[in-house]
């Protein structure tokens, strides 16, 4: 194994977590005798075939439009079970509508990819930010929606690796302005995928903005002082989208500087809710009231601000069940000189800022965080945190801002009821970059979570998870092949995995770590030895139970008898 080793985790951690945090839902289990578990990655970009730079203006950035970077998508474009890669890519201030163009790579296995952009027919060149992948037209092929500065784009997957621009046919161009994160999810329970688009602010790329001041230094202007844009929600009507921003109630929500959105049933009522991470303004929690109506409840439920009542500059959002209560909790990344926040989703519906309890704050204080994910990187039965970082101000230094422009990644390893920073000089972790986006998933089919990270005006980097290859994992893919369903990857499903008394939960959510997509598959580490019970709550509430063994890729079909 290449890569590196870090401090071994306690093999009994799962049991500790079980007894300390998970309460009565968790049965005690004997401590399995296992080798030490480690977290380690190797940068395999050079051999991966992924050779591309993520354009977003020029270096050094001088305008707010240049500093966010674009997203990435994992998409199984050929339904062969492995995850392909898409980068929508940005442009420059000189011509925001014509950048170097989107790129699409086919996963050939073994973390090798082939650039199939040209053959795919995707000619998108607009300045892109967010991206969503999912079956929009119900043909069981995953499509691509791209949120842009200006006109958004929809590319429908026509099979055989070919895509077709269906932006106009579907009414997907949107109102213009600056769209950022986006999420596909069935928001009205009719089994097709609707679309939520976060939007940032109003700005003219042709007009330079006077510098703002931060800690006594001139910096790139915004977002404060610029006009925020309201988010947009589109209802899927089978062969076109209908803008339902106003009737859904979303249009009545005072706009924030929206950067990222995730779609997940956070209230446990079977309806898909939306959490919007807003920059320098309070977050939004749009609770789904049914009949395509949403109410903004973040303020009253406790996730609009951190505990101190501070409206943070939220960028990335991660999702996981940190306290074992069966409800998805949230980790949000924020600007430097602040701390990333960890919100527990309580059984009574309120959200608690428990950043201090879990120890995720202090290690992030000097960092400007972007994409973040909760994933079991070392297969010890709990979820670790991986965050990519980089400042927005090219003149950021430790001396001036307590934060450097180029920043290392932050991996927080879950140890019992706390997270601890992974310390290593290994390049994949310590080398500073201006990272922005990332996608995470088992890209080489070996059962652990790999990553592709996008750097602002820098290369995409493919990181291979160097977990030891033991069969201590499970990857679950869902397929809804019923003729009546158009949500064939079951976005919105909750998966409960039990082994030797350890209960873990995963959600197939819309949106992603930052302007990117979550993996359509669910991954868990399995530290025990026993068989595995998998319970799926499908988006329509139907429950399905399956038994399996560790070290497998389990595909469950809702349509199968």
């Amino acid at each position: 194994m290449s890569g590196f080793m870090v401090v071994p985790a306690m093999v009994v951690r799962a049991i500790v977590v079980c007894s300390v945090l998970h309460g009565p839902c968790m049965a005690q289990a004997p401590a399995p005798a296992e080798p030490a578990r480690t977290i380690g990655f190797t940068d395999v970009t050079a051999a991966s075939g992924v050779h591309a730079s993520m354009t977003s203006g020029v270096q050094p950035s001088s305008h707010i439009l240049e500093v966010k970077g674009g997203g990435l998508a994992l998409i199984d474009l050929d339904d062969d079970g492995d995850l392909d890669l898409f980068m929508p890519n940005g442009a420059t201030l000189v011509d925001p509508t014509r950048g170097p163009g989107a790129r699409l790579w086919r996963n050939d296995g073994g973390l090798r990819f082939t650039d199939i952009t040209e053959a795919s027919g995707i000619t998108h060149r607009g300045w892109s930010f967010g991206v969503a992948a999912g079956d929009i037209d119900g043909d069981r092929r995953d499509d691509l929606f791209i949120a842009c500065f200006g006109r958004n784009a929809l590319w429908l997957n026509r099979g055989g690796g070919r895509f077709e621009d269906a932006t106009d046919a579907w009414g997907a161009a949107g109102p213009g302005g600056w769209s950022t994160g986006c999420a596909l999810a069935d928001l009205d329970g009719d089994s097709d995928l609707d679309l939520y688009i976060a939007r940032y602010l109003s700005v003219d790329p042709a007009k330079p903005l006077a510098p703002a001041m931060f800690k006594g230094q001139p910096v790139i202007n915004g977002p404060k002082g610029l006009a925020p844009l309201g988010d947009v929600v589109l209802r899927n009507d089978g062969d076109h989208f209908t803008d339902v921003t106003a009737p859904s109630g979303v249009g009545a929500v005072p706009p924030g500087f929206g950067l990222n959105v995730i779609a997940c049933d956070v209230t446990g009522d079977g309806l898909m809710d939306l959490f919007v991470g807003n920059d320098s303004s309070g977050n939004h929690l749009l609770v789904n009231e049914g009949n395509f109506k949403f109410s903004e409840r973040a303020r009253h439920l406790g996730c609009r601000t951190n505990l101190e009542g501070i409206e943070q500059a939220t960028m990335g959002v991660a999702l996981g069940d940190l306290d074992g209560n069966g409800r998805p909790d949230l980790h949000t990344t924020v600007f430097s000189s602040d701390t990333n926040s960890l919100f527990l989703n309580r059984a009574d519906g309120f959200w608690d800022d428990r950043t201090s309890q879990f120890g995720t704050g202090a290690p992030s204080r000097s960092l400007c965080g972007w994409a973040t994910i909760l994933a079991d990187l070392d297969h010890d039965g709990d979820e670790d945190l991986f965050t990519v970082n980089g400042h927005v101000y090219p003149n950021a230094t430790k001396a001036a801002f307590d934060s450097e422009y180029l920043q290392p990644r932050l991996v927080l390893e879950r140890k019992g009821n706390r997270f601890s920073p992974l310390r290593s000089d290994a390049a994949w972790l310590s080398e500073p970059h201006r990272d922005r986006t990332a996608v995470f998933g088992d890209l080489d089919g070996d059962g652990d979570v790999d990553a592709v990270i996008g750097e602002l005006n820098g290369p995409l980097r493919v990181l291979r998870n160097d977990h030891d290859g033991t069969a201590d994992w499970l990857v679950v893919s869902l397929r809804d092949t019923r003729a009546s369903s158009r949500n064939h990857r079951a976005v919105g499903a909750m998966i409960t995995i039990e082994q030797d008394g350890l209960v873990q939960r995963r959600w197939l959510a819309g949106g992603g770590p930052f302007q990117s997509t979550f993996s359509p598959d669910a991954h868990v580490g399995l530290p025990g030895k026993g068989s595995v019970k998998v319970t799926v709550r499908w988006p329509d509430g139907f429950e399905q139970v399956a038994m399996t063994e560790p070290g497998r890729r389990l595909v469950l079909d809702r349509g199968a008898p």
Binding site: M213, F214, T305, D338, A399
Partner: protein, 292 residues
């Protein structure tokens, strides 16, 4: 001399608003009013001329800091530092000017230098040459805290309370670190020590009431952490009686009332939060502000 020093440091500390830091944790508070001198017996190690306590540049820099113009104080402090490169007081004044600009990472090495230098001065001379020396560890604690160095912050605060057992704000600093470490019992104990350093009065007009309000608010946080929501409300209310402008606590009270199902009280608390923000010039204007 002591009265002048106490007043100056109190003003410096008083112009520090917790909301100035995005993390929301209060910055340096009021130092102890009757700080005993530490018992270092080290001899002076410098032959350089010393900036006297009344050095114009030191006085000017400290006054600028006290008047909330630390960015103007910095060049004065740098000039002082250039004139007396080996003198810990010059390093301290520079560190303080950086600290008050929230450039904590930049300030830390100067505080550390000031601390080390102070310990190298004969104790008999130290009070004259560097009258603020006993409080350096306090500021170092907060600077380290804001750079994410919890262990270092705890160590600095601990050394301050070892020298000045009645340094309530350093006990408070220890508590804040322990809360971040999720050491709840240790945090509660440190808050009790902090409270014991303060007068009992919780009325807003009391000169130490703001410090008391900070401590009570953290006790409220611990109650909230333990799901004792009503206890948290009671503590937050006491905190607000002591410091009505502590807008973050109004936000916490609102959070608690929501949880208790009293949305009317929660909304009232939010109005009070906005009022408090307006009073202290920290308006929650969301997207309309002018700087990041």
């Amino acid at each position: 001399m002591r009265a002048w020093l106490t007043t100056l440091l109190a003003v410096i500390a008083g112009c520090s608003d917790p909301a100035d830091d995005r993390g929301g944790v209060p910055a340096a508070g009021t130092p102890n009013q009757v700080a005993p001198e530490p018992s270092s017996s080290a001899d002076s190690v410098t032959d350089q001329p010393l900036p006297p306590p009344g050095d114009d540049r030191a006085r000017v820099a400290l006054q600028l800091i006290a008047r909330n113009h630390p960015e103007q104080a910095e060049p004065v402090a740098r000039a002082l530092r250039s004139a007396y490169p080996d003198q810990p007081r010059a390093a301290f004044v520079l560190a303080l000017s950086l600290h008050k600009q929230k450039r904590y990472g930049d300030a830390v090495p100067y505080f550390e230098e000031a601390l080390a230098g102070a310990n190298a001065i004969d104790s008999a001379q130290r009070a004259q040459q560097f009258p603020e020396h006993v409080h350096v560890a306090h500021f170092l604690g907060w600077a380290r805290y804001y750079t994410g160095d919890l262990d270092g912050a705890r160590g600095a605060f601990a050394s301050h309370v070892a020298a000045v057992p009645t340094a309530g704000d350093s006990w408070y600093g220890i508590a804040v670190v322990e809360i971040d470490e999720d050491q709840i019992d240790a945090a509660a104990a440190a808050l009790e020590r902090a409270l014991a350093c303060l007068p009992d009065a919780e009325r807003a007009e009391d000169s130490r009431s703001r410090d008391r309000g900070k401590v009570l608010a953290r006790q409220g946080d611990l109650a909230l952490r333990a799901d004792r929501t009503q206890d948290a409300v009671d503590l937050y209310r006491r905190a607000l009686r002591a410091w009505p402008d502590h807008y973050e606590v109004w936000a916490k009270v609102a959070r608690c009332y929501d949880r208790l199902g009293d949305t009317t009280a929660a909304d009232r608390a939010r109005v009070e939060e906005l009022n408090a923000r307006e009073r202290v010039g920290r308006i929650l204007d969301g997207p309309k502000g002018s700087t990041p």
